[in-house]
Symmetry: C2
Subunit: 451 residues, 2 copies
């Protein structure tokens, strides 16, 4: 079943476009899943992509649009009239429809929305556009199957046949009362297994997870992953519990991937969710700021070393160890910040900040002593005085401990302040630790060697 | 609905255990989701956890077991008899059951399996245990709903009522022929919407995604995410397509989280999937090796600088810039390796290695020139000769370009060799780039300044 995007296939498609052999092209595309077609279009030039999109019916192309690379989708949408976009949107579930429209420039949005014929669909999209995209409201779809507790199983099945046509995947059936208040759920399975004359009120499951429409998407993802949910209803408020929409796991999977990628890039000193196929300019914008931070840090390190330059003549060897000290400070800092940032993301950082710091201190000290031992032997073995060896290795221990503490404290501090702790990983920690490390190193060395 | 694990709640639970108030304790627990109870037990001491587990019925405790921290689950299982474990396993779906048993020490496994009363369940678990845990077979469950193409809709619904009782979530209904060969699928929705006298052969959807039982789990995750699948059938081979089992999205979500966490930790120089609550010893084992690598790198840097020590008297300033050079080399290396590793994971690294390297070279050169300009001005402004400023900044550019190339090449190379490219990120790249960077830096400086 595996789809592989080969150069041959790509060439074939390009030729069919070239020769405008619409019939064959359509036939070829019909065999592919829309996600695969999107993969093909991502590789074609804009004209080629537009040609294919105009060729296929809007039912397919709307799905393809959703799967395209964001940059490519933007280009394609630019090339479609408001009317054409409206027709695509008509085919999409409300959540995808709202996402597409949200990507349009302000001035086009209203025009596109106003051209959506299905008024219910239009109203629902308007509603969804009002929510912040990082909240449950921004992620949910209006499509869902709901039944009233007063209905019978037979009546439900009859009505569901109607509603279900609108809904791609049914998952749970939500049970509401006359006030549209969410009071429970049912699986289609339960309905099928139940006797047809039973009342919903007698068979529905009253324990139902739900999220508030203003809940943060990361929290929604955490809840759905924790409780193994495939869909979760969204309510207007915890008080009235009015059922507004539903979030499905496939959207959460995307959110999780984006979050993971973002944190990973952040830790590597890359901002703005770029991918390896982005333009050199985009990649520079994402990487240069962090590198500049590193440059500033390096200048800081320079100034510190310069401050100790009189020690130079006698203890040149000290200066040869600065890269080692800086590297260790950086590595330890990244290790401890990464594990805290991850712990915070997975919500498994328990206990007080102080106990954390204490633990990290012990951990760093343990690592530090082991490493310092090797360093001491090396420095001493290559013919330096025991004092020098002592100075270098003692400061290594201190540097590692301080680096560990900084790496632990900063993300915890940012998190308490409501700032994304992920920004504290990578270059940020490395740089600050380079400076602290080198400063501590020379200060201690100076103390011990009495420079 | 939000569950919050407060110290008060924890205290209350501990007191109820202390005073052995089983009734109240049971009543309290009954209000919680098993995932929440697991969260509570993770915080209790072993005796406390065991007390609660013995108190609750195996239907609940089996689910709780699955949600416990792996380390805690191991401890709990140690304290349960083979008979007790068998009873827990009896309640679980085959995939979870197999996972639990796989965690047991070899000698206990057979004993536990042999005590499972339901023989079909027992046989299925034996089958699943035979598959590698990193393959589709290791992830799939035997529970699924299948129908034969010769059945009628009415007949299906009747039979499904039987099968469905076994299956927690139905998702798709899989259609097979007499040879158990997967030929298509149906959603419950389709069944409900269809007329009861229709033949399955006439209404089933023949295009059905499936994976081979030996497929790698990461690939399965990629496929399910790409095609927005909530469940995917697993077949014995692409030839006979015999339906063996089914993988559901909630298991894939866990796989994705683990993968993301693993890569993130790898990039931070942490191995062995530890979390912030693990013991200091576990954390040391996960972190020390990478730090040691850093130490070796630092020693390498030392030796290089020592090799240039005669330049010392005249160009001491050069040595003050080594931390800066090393830091930049490290940062650039991490940036470029991270974006390649991520691209490989998301399967969107297209084109040849050479085009990649060329792109990275241009990107690095662009960043390098901008940064070098600032550095030149700084070095020159603090009163060094234009030559010195020139030497430092030129080498910065070269160092950045080389660092970028190494960071791009190594993961691509490892991937081609079938090695997980993620190990190439973090400390590995930083360390090697530190050494290369400093070597290049002094060589170029020597050349330009004619030391």
């Amino acid at each position: 079943m595996q789809f592989q995007l080969t150069d041959e296939l790509l060439e074939q498609v390009e030729q069919l476009i070239e020769s405008q052999s619409d019939k064959q092209l359509k036939k070829l595309m019909d065999d592919f899943h829309y996600a695969d077609i999107a993969e093909i279009l991502d590789e074609l030039d804009l004209e080629g992509a537009m040609y294919v999109i105009k060729l296929l019916d809007s039912e397919t192309t709307s799905d393809i649009l959703m799967e395209l690379d964001e940059d490519n989708r933007e280009k394609v949408l630019k090339n479609l009239s408001a009317q054409e976009i409206a027709e695509e949107v008509e085919e999409l579930d409300t959540d995808d429809a709202a996402d597409i429209i949200a990507e349009l420039p302000e001035e086009r949005r209203q025009e596109v929305i106003s051209r959506i014929e299905d008024e219910a669909h239009q109203a629902e999209i308007r509603e969804l556009l009002a929510y912040d995209e990082d909240t449950a409201g921004g992620l949910m779809a209006k499509e869902l199957v709901k039944v009233y507790d007063t209905w019978t199983v037979a009546g439900c099945l009859r009505r569901i046949r109607g509603q279900a046509k609108e809904v791609t995947r049914v998952h749970s059936v939500y049970v509401v009362d006359k006030q549209e208040k969410l009071i429970g759920r049912l699986s289609l399975k339960d309905l099928i297994v139940a006797k047809s004359d039973q009342k919903i009120a007698d068979i529905y499951i009253s324990s139902v997870d739900y999220v508030n429409v203003n809940e943060d998407v990361e929290e929604v993802a955490r809840i759905m992953a924790k409780y193994d949910l495939e869909a979760i209803p969204v309510v207007e408020s915890d008080e009235n519990k009015v059922l507004l929409g539903r979030i499905t796991i496939d959207d959460i999977v995307d959110v999780m991937k984006e979050e993971a990628d973002k944190d990973y890039q952040m830790a590597a000193g890359i901002t703005g969710d770029v991918d390896s196929d982005d333009s050199i300019l985009q990649l520079t914008k994402a990487r240069l700021p962090w590198l500049f931070l590193g440059l500033v840090g390096g200048v800081g390190a320079f100034l510190i070393m310069e401050g100790f330059h009189e020690a130079f003549s006698k203890y040149a060897v000290l200066f040869f160890f600065t890269p080692l000290i800086a590297a260790m400070a950086g590595n330890v800092g990244v290790q401890s910040s990464a594990i805290i940032v991850q712990g915070l993301a997975n919500d498994d950082v328990k206990g007080s900040i102080n106990s954390r710091l204490l633990k990290e201190m012990l951990l760093a000290a343990l690592n530090g002593v082991v490493l310092a031992l090797f360093l001491f032997l090396f420095v001493w073995a290559i013919g330096n005085s025991v004092n020098t060896a002592f100075a270098v290795s003692i400061s290594l221990v201190v540097v590692i401990v301080v680096a560990g503490l900084i790496g632990t404290f900063v993300p915890l501090f940012l998190d308490k302040r409501g700032i994304d702790p992920a920004i504290a990983t990578g270059p940020f920690i490395t740089t600050s630790n380079d400076i602290f490390g080198i400063l501590i190193y020379f200060s201690i060395a100076k103390l011990i060697l009495g420079i």
